[in-house]
Point group: C2
Chain length 143, copies 2
Amino acid sequence: MTDGTTIEQQLQAHGIHPTAARILVLQKLSELTHPVSMTELETELETMDKSTIFRTLNVLLEHHAIHSFEDGSGSTKYEICRCESTVCRVENRHIHFYCEECRRTFCIEDVKIPIVALPEGYHIETINYTVKGLCPECSRRQA
Amino acid sequence: MTDGTTIEQQLQAHGIHPTAARILVLQKLSELTHPVSMTELETELETMDKSTIFRTLNVLLEHHAIHSFEDGSGSTKYEICRCESTVCRVENRHIHFYCEECRRTFCIEDVKIPIVALPEGYHIETINYTVKGLCPECSRRQA
DNA sequence: CCGCACATGCAACCCGGTTGCAAACTGACA
DNA sequence: TGTCAGTTTGCAACCGGGTTGCATGTGCGG
């Protein structure tokens, strides 16, 4: 699901009926290099209603076109899924970093989530690995 | 900070002035074997006001007597810190499991958070490793 | 006993997320 | 092409976790 395909094709590949709203949201998410909150999307897409964004994100989530996770900021963050296939495996997911100073959330694309062995019986759906602390910029400023 | 010491002593060891509210909250957290939300604490401690619980939890957090983290439930969860020393190292922290079916959060005490190497410059404060999926009970029921 | 700093309760508030409902749109079919 | 059913969207209202301001209570040093 990387470049070469249009947003519309990406939606269809995930079995999502491509509407204006869905194209716009996915478009925006694919442009951004960092995860965003619903509120941030709201300001990026002023024409679109909050509830529409909310429902659109849910559709995209259900069809695994995007991921969501919680950094420690209080609001859920969303990012486009850049897997090759339409199903994204846990092993391919990267970790995130939340800076407690500037409150930005970073994708650490290079570092994949380490998978642990759980006790018998647990069925893993998804994993969230988020590090909190100071980003390079802020820790330099503090020093 | 394990057994043998009273709740009051534990508070003092963390440099916290032991008041009735703080003792009650820490007491409750030490009894419980699973992480709880503020709301859950509210119902457990009916006498105490929501805002008092909120501020108490913050005091306990600042002095590292407890931990907080977000499973995917929307509300922050709190659990007592069972480290030996007054400072709890990241390496000692365990992972959590959130069941999307029964909405319970489990401590997987046996499994410690795997530590990854971050790119230069990031300063780690804390890490949240939470697995979402089905707990043993619910996945058996579904089968 | 007084005064001060800190702790608590109450009520109001903020805001992210969520829902009900009516209008707008789309696509299938006559 | 016109019509109807199902889907999508916007609007407004709501919900609940979290947070704050302020007045009252409590404990301690002087």
